[in-house]
């Protein structure tokens, strides 16, 4: 059985080298090459490759963001020149990676290991992604990759199995739980004010009491969000009237 493989790297020479190393693997068929993260997302969803050689630093989207958007968690070999922080996390989760420049032997080893794990879902890649502190949120919405800077977000609402991200008057749905997103956000900037709501602190204009023990948070854009009792405990330090 031949394996379908996708090469993702922004440097043409790096892709050439991978092709060369793959020449002696007759059971592997290269089905595509991508030079940036956005193309990689499309190719992974369309071609469903068995194996992906994925560079971490790329234009548009990073390697980890590509996996997050596609939900892909098996058959991935990361390639990188140097990233001391990412590599520490990779070691911790036993995710395979190739350090550039790598030899044919090291490359074959990684391919062999990937073959034995063929079809096995890696639970450690989602964990790795979940542990990464977010700098922005990436979502694929109607075939388009949206990149949302954290500073533009007003609030995030939980809706069944989705979260609804609201920023600059726009909103988009993403499959993720509110709690897992909360863990990825800086608690100095984002606060969970309710079971179903996370708010960016600086988006809040003030708190309003609507009854004896019910509060709402009023945002700069006029939106009013419910504040639960525990949410009020978390937020009141920032808004002592």
């Amino acid at each position: 059985m031949t394996l379908q493989l996708l090469i993702v790297d922004d440097e043409p020479l790096a892709r050439r080298l991978t092709r060369e190393y793959l020449a002696k693997h007759s059971d592997i068929n290269i089905i595509g090459e991508c030079a940036n993260g956005e193309d990689a997302v499309e190719a992974i969803l369309k071609l469903e490759p068995d194996l992906i050689l994925l560079d971490i630093h790329m234009p548009r989207l990073s390697g980890l963001e590509v996996l997050e958007i596609t939900g892909r968690s098996n058959g991935v070999i990361f390639t990188t020149a140097y990233d001391q922080y990412a590599l520490k996390a990779f070691d911790l989760h036993a995710v395979d990676y190739l350090l550039k420049p790598f030899s044919q032997e090291r490359f074959d080893e990684a391919i062999a290991r990937a073959k034995t794990l063929q079809g096995v879902q890696h639970t450690n890649i989602p964990v790795l992604i979940a542990e990464t502190r977010l700098e922005r949120i990436v979502v694929r919405d109607r075939g388009q990759v949206q990149i949302i800077p954290l500073a533009d977000i007003d609030y995030i609402e939980a809706q069944d199995d989705y979260i609804n991200i609201c920023w600059q008057g726009k909103s988009v749905l993403k499959t993720q739980s509110l709690s897992s997103l909360e863990a990825q956000l800086n608690s100095q900037e984002f606060v969970r004010i309710h079971r179903s709501f996370i708010v960016r602190l600086s988006a809040i204009k003030g708190l309003e009491r609507i009854s004896k023990d019910a509060q709402v948070a009023v945002l700069h854009n006029g939106t009013k969000l419910p504040v639960s009792r525990t949410g009020y405990e978390r937020i009141k330090l920032h808004f002592v009237n």
């Binding site: 440097e11 020479l13 790096a14 080298l17 548009r60 989207l61």
Partner: protein, 351 residues
């Protein structure tokens, strides 16, 4: 901040000293005027404690006349007028207090004010205020020396940080390993291109080591270093990286600190070209106007927020390094808009 009144541990000692002076004055009164001890103490101790507070105002007078730009006339005028004024105010207070004590009619208290005594009190108060002025001058001088030392050590730390930054930019591991990977690819497909890249890489590292040991180099040398660097990056990024270098011939001989341009070029690629799928142009421009060298480096950036956005530490460090070398005769500014980033530096040609 006033050194005595605002440091509580000094205040008791200060008051103690003035209280002792008060006892001494009482003793003089007893001996010369034949006043009884109770009356003398009741008058002199409060009077001198009050004067102790009045004398602290000397600090502000000393401060208003910085040691660096004093003229004899101004010092004599302000010191003597301040002394006379405070002695006069104090004497009025003393007389008022003494009269009050007498008016209340406490038995045997209050002292007899003779014109001689008033004259003595006035001149002693003047002298005491002068002494206070001189003491504060000394205190302020010590304070200035300590401040200057603090500033100097802070500047040294900054200079060392800048030095470290230079060393670090020589060996950017990401650049080195990616270049080695490109060479590794080229060996099989284009051996002579691989050799050319190794030579560029060697020249870049040799030049950066040689240059960074100097305090100043010619701009032409810094540009040569950047060209080696750009040649390597052009092989890596293929047609994604193009350059537009416009150098005025007069600026080539300008003296500049080593490795001041290279980190900016590196940033332009790392935070600009790297994030653009279709690549872009890095522009370097230099010009000489009168006695100033103008440099501009600009690059396109992704309009979407980047995952590899810089924190600006590199720019701030470079600015600190330039300010350390040229003081306030250097201008370094950077602007970022939706699609481009631009750094401008103006440094003096003569220094």
């Amino acid at each position: 901040m006033y050194p005595i009144l605002f440091q509580l541990r000094y205040l008791p000692w200060y008051l103690c000293a003035w209280a002792i002076a008060g006892v001494a004055l009482a003793w003089i009164l007893v001996i010369t005027q034949g006043t009884n001890w109770n009356a003398a103490l009741l008058f002199s101790v409060p009077a001198l404690l009050v004067y102790g507070f009045m004398a602290t105002s000397a600090y502000y007078i000393c401060r208003s006349l910085p040691l660096a730009n004093r003229t004899a006339q101004r010092v004599i005028f302000s010191f003597s007028s301040a002394s006379l004024l405070s002695a006069f105010v104090w004497l009025c207070l003393c007389l008022l207090f003494n009269n009050l004590v007498i008016a209340i009619g406490l038995q045997g208290l209050g002292i007899a004010m003779t014109p001689q005594l008033i004259a003595v009190l006035f001149s002693v108060a003047c002298l005491a205020y002068l002494v206070s002025l001189l003491t504060h001058d000394v205190l302020i001088a010590f304070e200035n020396i300590r401040d200057a030392e603090l500033k100097r050590s802070a500047a040294q730390v900054l200079a060392r940080d800048a030095e470290l930054q230079v060393l670090r930019s020589q060996i950017n591991p990401h650049f080195l390993f990616n270049s080695l990977n490109s060479i590794s690819a080229l060996t099989a497909i284009d051996a002579s291109a691989a050799r050319a890249m190794i030579i560029e890489l060697g020249s870049f590292f040799r030049k950066s080591l040689a240059l960074s040991s100097n305090t100043y180099i010619a701009l032409s040398e810094e540009l040569a270093l950047c060209e080696h660097y750009l040649a390597i990056e052009k092989i890596r990024f293929d047609n994604r990286l193009t350059t537009d270098i416009a150098i005025e011939p007069e600026s080539l001989s300008a003296k500049v600190p080593p490795m001041f341009l290279q980190p900016l070029v590196e940033n332009a690629i790392k935070h600009g070209i790297c994030n653009l799928s279709e690549g872009g142009v890095v522009s370097i421009m230099s010009a000489v106007h009168e006695t100033w060298l103008y440099m501009t480096i600009s690059n396109p950036i992704d309009s979407q927020p980047s995952s590899a956005a810089g924190t600006g530490t590199g720019l701030k460090n470079l600015k600190a390094r330039l300010e350390n070398l040229y003081g306030d005769r250097v201008r370094m500014t950077w602007q970022k808009n939706q699609t481009s980033f631009r750094v401008e530096i103006i440094i003096p040609l003569d220094f």
